[in-house]
Symmetry: C2
Subunit: 422 residues, 2 copies
């Protein structure tokens, strides 16, 4: 018997009809002989409603109380799915985070899972039951309810799978991970298999299908992760084959991925802004005088470019999340005298486009092919960062879609037919 | 420092503005030097919404899962009230039933409280905190969430007060217990003090202001219980005096109540139906043949009248809750041959009117004064039951309001001015 954790997000459990649909997916896996634990999110919109109440009570709320309130949404879904499964003749019981227990740090609203003793879940399996677990929540060292931060249910699911030695299927509203966003590139293809490292890069570079933390956790614990659609027909035998082929996208170890393209996927982010600190003295410590105060103010910085002009003065340009732009400017204006710059220029009409692929390690010239492709389309590059398996460029947002389409073709990712986006 | 448990029902915490109003009531008591624990219900309508989900999932639902889902409502209110109190500068923390812990039997959806170890709540008091406790819920012997049945938050509050050696103020949407329903008798008066026994009779005879179970529990543990309005101005010094006078109604031991009327209050219930089993043999065992099968079918019976007619045949008449009438008739029709009756007559246009007062014990003639009063108004009595401190009559529902008004005057309960119903 195979051990399986199935995770369903908020849109998949948005109302009773969808919860019944989820139950049919679960029933199919149970009848196929799997031992199943399910991790559920709150019904879509419910968490926002609860957060709204808390913020109405106090914008500067106590995070322990926030967790008390907000965790109730997943508790409701878990109980309801257990009832629906029972009505279908599938033995099931629900679990709050504290009942499992899913033990976490004390960092309310942003807790990290420290341990999941598997005994209770294994005992319920031995009684022939499906475990239905409230995602997103746990219990802190002082016995209070914690939550894992937004989107934490993916992390709950992977952690439960690691504790149970199970594989993990993440059901979502898309049918897998795509070479890029099919709304931008109609010829984007579903990726059959992708390595943890590549998925991690894509997730952290803007692909929204999986939470970065959950991919990290899956990589560390070697939990095979499948991303698939909860809107697939639930009763049909869309089984995963013994060789791993099947619906959705399998995220797995590099050596289990097949021979493939040099570039696996293209991610993008519109959530970018750029700051140029112009005409500073080109001397040691100048970068520290810019980035020290930003770090103290809690503003994360992404790409950094420093260049020296002919007059011996330097420009320091960097990118950051668009939402942090105002705060960054406040900090730098306060520090103007100390840094000694002439002007501060900002832009929030920039976007980041990234190509990701493990094949880059063994193929030279990937970055230059990217720059060449963009140059042929007349796209100017404002900044560049690279890692072993990705190249990111900052460009004018107006050119973003054009750039993605050009790169998707250039690296051979186009499907023969247009993708149908469900 | 006085120890106080304050309980707020669903209409008192129906939205954020009302929760802020509740917090001002709590703040007033804290600033007056009391050690305060608060018990809250779910926001009005929330429990019905959650029950609706469960019933949609399966009409024949698992009660353990029902408790998982339905208990979430109180959890939300407790967290929100704690946040609002903190914002007002009052140290506070919330508690789920399992965190206190409020230990209960395993009877899901109708659990009884078995113990409340007070250590955690006392420790929070020692840290200067207000405890905000989710009502209606507890934890069963197997570590699963239980609920106490509808209206169980009153019971939670009294049980917490008993565990803490505190008095208990029940805040509701009326400003106390009245001699009868002011919507029927505009001259109804608020009762200043009432004994546990009288309150118990009134509650079980149809007065809806307090749950019967909570009054029973208060009586056993001698918890002084005050019923008062959450719509009173929260910041004004509506303090309870040392002699116990104050807003609302104090429910307390008989020897603490003052000299008073023979009749303290008049209760009524429209939720009544009557069944007449006519022309049965007047022989031993005939009553058992009627009421045995009803008991087996779980139909509780209230008043019973048996009389023998001149032809040696008997009639057995009894009353029951209107919602049980159809089931009772089914049972009796099935048992017709065994009982051997001629006809089965039913009526659901009947009502029960009851007078309650500890003074009856020492005053003769209370019942006959009641019958005389009704007779003078031409009200026919269908059935009578009595206890040491109450007399109930079954009458035609059409005469109910007339009967209540006549009795209210006859027993000297009318106020000089009309009551303003808030």
């Amino acid at each position: 018997m195979s051990r399986l954790v199935m995770k369903f997000g908020g849109t998949s459990v948005a109302d009773m009809d969808r919860i019944r649909n989820v139950a049919r997916h679960v029933a199919r896996e149970v009848r196929a002989g799997n031992r199943v634990s399910v991790v559920v999110s709150a019904m879509a919109g419910k968490t926002d409603e609860l957060v709204g109440y808390v913020e109405d009570a106090d914008v500067d709320f106590d995070r322990a109380e926030y967790d008390m309130v907000v965790s109730s949404g997943e508790q409701v879904t878990a109980g309801l799915l257990a009832v629906v499964l029972q009505k279908m003749g599938i033995a099931a019981r629900s679990w709050c985070g504290w009942q499992v227990p899913i033990e976490t740090t004390n960092a309310h609203a942003a807790a990290r899972i420290t341990a999941i003793p598997p005994e209770n879940l294994l005992a319920a399996w031995d009684e022939g039951k499906v475990n239905v677990i409230a995602g997103f929540q746990g219990i802190g060292p002082d016995g209070r309810i914690t939550t894992l931060g937004r989107g934490g249910s993916d992390t709950s699911a992977v952690a439960v799978a690691a504790a149970l030695g199970a594989r993990c299927d993440i059901y979502t509203d898309v049918d897998g991970v795509y070479t890029t966003d099919p709304r931008i590139v109609p010829r984007a293809r579903r990726i059959e298999r992708i390595s943890y490292e590549e998925m991690l890069e894509l997730a952290s570079l803007g692909a929204k299908v999986l939470q970065t933390r959950s991919v990290e956790l899956a990589m560390v614990h070697k939990v095979p992760l499948r991303v698939r659609s909860s809107f697939d027909p639930p009763d049909s035998p869309l089984q995963v084959m013994a060789d791993g082929t099947g619906p959705g996208t399998l995220v797995c170890d590099e050596d289990e991925t097949m021979e493939q393209q040099v570039v696996t996927g293209i991610a993008y982010s519109r959530d970018e802004a750029q700051v140029a600190v112009r005409h500073v003295k080109d001397k040691p410590g100048i970068a520290a005088s810019v980035f020290g105060p930003l770090a103290e103010a809690g503003v994360p910085v992404d790409m950094i470019v420093q260049n020296v002009s002919t007059d011996g003065l330097a420009n320091i340009t960097f990118t950051l999340a668009r939402k942090d732009l105002r705060r960054a400017v406040e900090v730098l204006e306060r520090e103007r005298e100390n840094i000694g710059y002439a002007t501060l220029d900002t832009a929030d009409n920039v976007a980041k486009v990234s190509i990701v692929g493990i094949g880059m390690r063994s193929h030279a010239g990937v970055a230059s092919k990217m720059f060449q492709t963009l140059s042929e389309k007349g796209v100017n590059i404002e900044a560049i960062t690279t890692s072993e398996i990705k190249v990111s460029v900052l460009i004018d947002e107006a050119w973003m879609e054009l750039a993605i389409r050009a790169l998707h073709s250039a690296f051979g990712l186009d499907a023969e037919d247009e993708t149908r986006v469900s």
